[in-house]
């Protein structure tokens, strides 16, 4: 946070101002904050929950909790880490409640923007390469779904949210060494799942 403030003081003070307005109960500031983080937060929750309906409910609960707890937020902490840790705790509570039930259904991993058929119909010379990318991504996404939730979490935080290891530790409430070991196991598990789908293939 201190580093962020030093590197981009205007953005830092803008974020702090938005947080202060949310604290005062300004509904427009809260709406702006939800809009700003909705894609990232929903994606994170979907990777964890796998089921869109569960991610949807967790998303709403997260913002209710943010509104309730924003008064206790320590401005010296990274807001994004705090926001994701709120979501993490709610997901853990939900998961504990469901533990023992059957596994959740697989998530539809399509992005809603492109489909394989649509890619080929465009006549774009790069369409085939993009189609292959799409399929590789879909296979990789399907393999991620097979991993345990703690491994899915570190993968999305590291590679999709681009969080530092220290930030991941803060979100998940675990030591740095555990983040590293989870990341390694998650990647190895992912590779094993990919190998199991395509035994002859090396890599993605």
């Amino acid at each position: 946070m201190i580093l962020a403030a030093a590197m981009n003081p205007e953005a830092f003070s803008g974020a702090q101002d938005a947080i202060a307005r949310v604290r005062r109960g300004d509904p427009d500031a809260l709406t702006a904050m939800i809009l700003r983080y909705q894609h990232r937060l929903y994606r994170y929750l979907l990777r964890l929950a796998r089921e869109p309906a569960a991610a949807d409910d967790l998303f709403q609960q997260t913002w209710l909790r943010v509104m309730e707890k924003i008064g206790h937020y320590d401005a010296r902490r990274n807001f994004e880490s705090w926001l994701f840790s709120v979501a993490h705790n709610l997901a853990v509570d939900a998961w504990r409640g469901k533990r023992g039930e059957s596994r959740l259904d697989d998530v539809d991993a399509s992005d809603g923007r492109e489909s394989p058929g649509a890619l080929l119909r465009t006549g774009d010379p790069d369409a085939l390469e993009r189609l292959l990318d799409f399929e590789r991504g879909a296979v990789l996404a399907a393999c991620i779904q097979e991993l345990p939730v703690i491994h899915r979490e570190v993968l999305t935080l590291r590679f999709e949210e681009d969080m530092k290891l220290e930030e991941i530790a803060e979100v998940a409430g675990i030591p740095l060494s555990t983040v590293k070991s989870r990341l390694r196991r998650a990647l190895e598990g992912l590779r094993a799942a990919m190998d199991a789908r395509s035994p002859g293939r090396k890599g993605v």
């Binding site: 929903y42 209710l64 992005d111 923007r113 590291r158 590679f159 999709e160 993605v204």
Partner: protein
């Protein structure tokens, strides 16, 4: 073989065995500077590890380009509605608590006033079933129970009416 060459080979052999765990972490950018330097030094000499690094690098790139989920329709609106409802419910809870406190204070003041009046009217003695009701202890115990019950019922009734009014408006 020179001593330097033997030492170099020993390093690579040892690193090749012990450093396998580091390859995946290197792709995740999770090694510290010294670990990264040693791994790169080893990979320059070891085609097997270099190939492994390339494979892990492919995973890293793939993970950064996963298909992105679409936000469900009206998620933003549903979230805002829920926030507004929760805010109203929290305001109602605060109002109920405030009213309960205010009504209890009012009822207790009334009870105390009546105690003074009852003492004057009865001359300090009103015995019913063996208990002197105008004794401070008996009066305050009785009136406290009565006060809180009355205040709670009144606060709940007022709160209910307030919520009904909000629904109509």
């Amino acid at each position: 073989m020179s001593e330097h060459e033997a030492s170099r080979q020993a390093f690579h052999q040892a690193f090749h065995q012990a450093g396998a765990d580091m390859l995946a972490l290197a792709a995740a950018g999770a090694l510290d500077a010294e670990e990264q330097r040693r791994l790169e030094e080893h990979a320059r000499e070891c085609p097997e590890c270099r190939r492994e690094l390339e494979i892990w690098s492919g995973y890293s790139q793939g993970l950064r380009r996963l298909p992105q989920p679409a936000i469900p329709a009206q998620l933003m609106e549903r979230t805002r509605t829920r926030l507004v409802q929760e805010r109203a419910a929290a305001a109602d809870r605060r109002w109920d608590e405030l009213m309960l406190g205010a009504l209890a204070l009012f009822a207790w003041t009334v009870g105390l006033t009546f105690w003074f009046v009852a003492r004057i009217v009865t001359g300090g003695e009103l015995v019913i079933m063996g208990a002197n009701l105008v004794r401070f202890g008996t009066w305050s115990a009785g009136s406290t129970v009565l006060v809180w019950l009355t205040a709670a019922v009144a606060a709940l009734a007022l709160g209910k009416r307030r919520r009904e009014l909000r629904r109509v408006l």
